[in-house]
Symmetry: C2
Subunit: 116 residues, 2 copies
Amino acid sequence: MEFIPKFDQQGLIPAIVQDANTRQVLMLAYMNLQSLNKTLETRQTWFWSRSRKELWHKGDTSGNTQQVVEIYFDCDSDTLLVLVDPAGPACHTGKTSCFHNLLLKQDCEPESKNEN
Amino acid sequence: MEFIPKFDQQGLIPAIVQDANTRQVLMLAYMNLQSLNKTLETRQTWFWSRSRKELWHKGDTSGNTQQVVEIYFDCDSDTLLVLVDPAGPACHTGKTSCFHNLLLKQDCEPESKNEN
């Protein structure tokens, strides 16, 4: 299947970043065509920062780059799954994953607390 | 940390769905407030179908519902990670995951082909 990425109206496509070894989901960020091409060329993750409105090489300031192992696209070509070998934590808080806040756990009432 | 979901301009928040057992990433879909509440209430995944513009109970027609095991939100509260116990394949193609198309593999040239 040929990949013709479906960018949204802002020219972006969401990219799920997953640790290739532990299978932990690390973060979700957005790529435009330029950052996707940089990712393919350099084999490290590049995104488009929606807040800073600039190209964002993950780990450029923190050193926590993400080496790309595999990239998949989904059945309607509007989302990417990027498996990486991370040099350090994905989250700016220093946690391994940005998804460290538990909202609901099976057989419990909905809650909202930090997971340690 | 209290969860105040950051919905986008369309009132949606992306939800990554991951198999709680195998850790495979299954799909990405979008929730509005109503589908998020239905998910929390029923402990099965509900989304907002952007193409059909309607509330979408995953598995309603296919039978492949997704039992919610855990839900996490990320550091800026604009993405959900939903760990599920799926009753069947997530993809409408019958594949386990919607991410079955390989775009790039480490140490290979970028390519675009179906993964078996």
